[in-house]
Subunit: 168 residues, 2 copies
């Protein structure tokens, strides 16, 4: 049971990175307003350089704070920093890839893709972080099952707080 | 590289179980035509007892054949059988849970839920199989990344062969 809490502790920078564009987003879209060959936007106006950079910065900062709380979990500051950076970059990269596929499926911006929205960022974060530090398979499966519910709860909270216009 | 092929070999019964209702499906719906409190069907007509039982049987049979090809991978016939059953049951159980959420989101039967359709059955299969035999985290992450593409390819093939009415 206690070991499952370590799974959350491990993935925390990815959650923060994934959630932060809601707060720090806006600005120039990453696709520069350009279109794919299907005539639709490559990524859309929802994915911006500021949201991406801000999310990576916030997620990495979270990891640095985590190191000072539980240094033995990471072994070294270097590992904690690299892990948090990889998790944050991976989470936001996975979010961009997800947006690309959503635009290709012609889903409008902000429209939910059940599964992709909750799991895409997580799987990408786990993949980017794998060379730095990974979890055993039981904890990974646990995160894959509980993350969608955390994601829905967090989005519903953000919606009720007025931070987001839609409850997903 | 070769070890990644073992990841496919491990998960093969789940893929077969997930794909087989297209061929063996039909018959009485599992929800018996009943409705959830939101006024929509619990699971819908697409999820039937015959599809579920047929999928578990086919997936488990695949696992028994796998044992005779690579007995040392499983150690014992009992492990191979239990693993194939758990992967197949888990895959189809995950598919049912996915359908439940799709009905709640008011997606019509057969409408794609990007991510859930490709990952829900896989995560559920990995969870049910975990107590019998699991993979290391690198192989699990690999399966999570490549499975959506295999899923799309297989569905497109089934559509072109006339087995399915829609290409997803």
């Amino acid at each position: 049971m206690k070991s499952l809490l370590w799974a959350f502790w491990y993935i925390l920078p990815a959650y923060f990175a994934n959630a932060s564009p809601v707060l720090v987003g806006g600005g120039r879209p990453i696709d520069g307003g350009r279109f794919w060959r299907d005539g639709r936007r490559i990524l859309g106006d929802g994915k911006t350089w500021r949201g991406f950079a801000g999310g990576v910065a916030i997620g990495t900062a979270v990891g640095m704070v985590q190191y000072f709380i539980t240094p033995s979990f990471y072994g070294s500051f270097r590992t904690a920093f690299l892990l948090a950076f990889a998790l944050s970059f991976g989470a936001l990269f996975g979010d961009l890839v997800g947006s690309f596929f959503k635009r290709r499926a012609n889903l409008p911006r902000g429209y939910p893709a059940i599964g992709l929205d909750q799991l895409g960022f997580l799987i990408s974060a786990l993949a980017f972080a794998y060379p730095v530090k990974t979890l055993d398979s039981g904890k990974i499966i646990f995160l894959l099952i509980v993350s969608p519910f955390i994601h829905w709860g967090a989005n519903y909270f953000a919606y009720r707080m007025g931070w987001k216009g839609v409850p997903w």
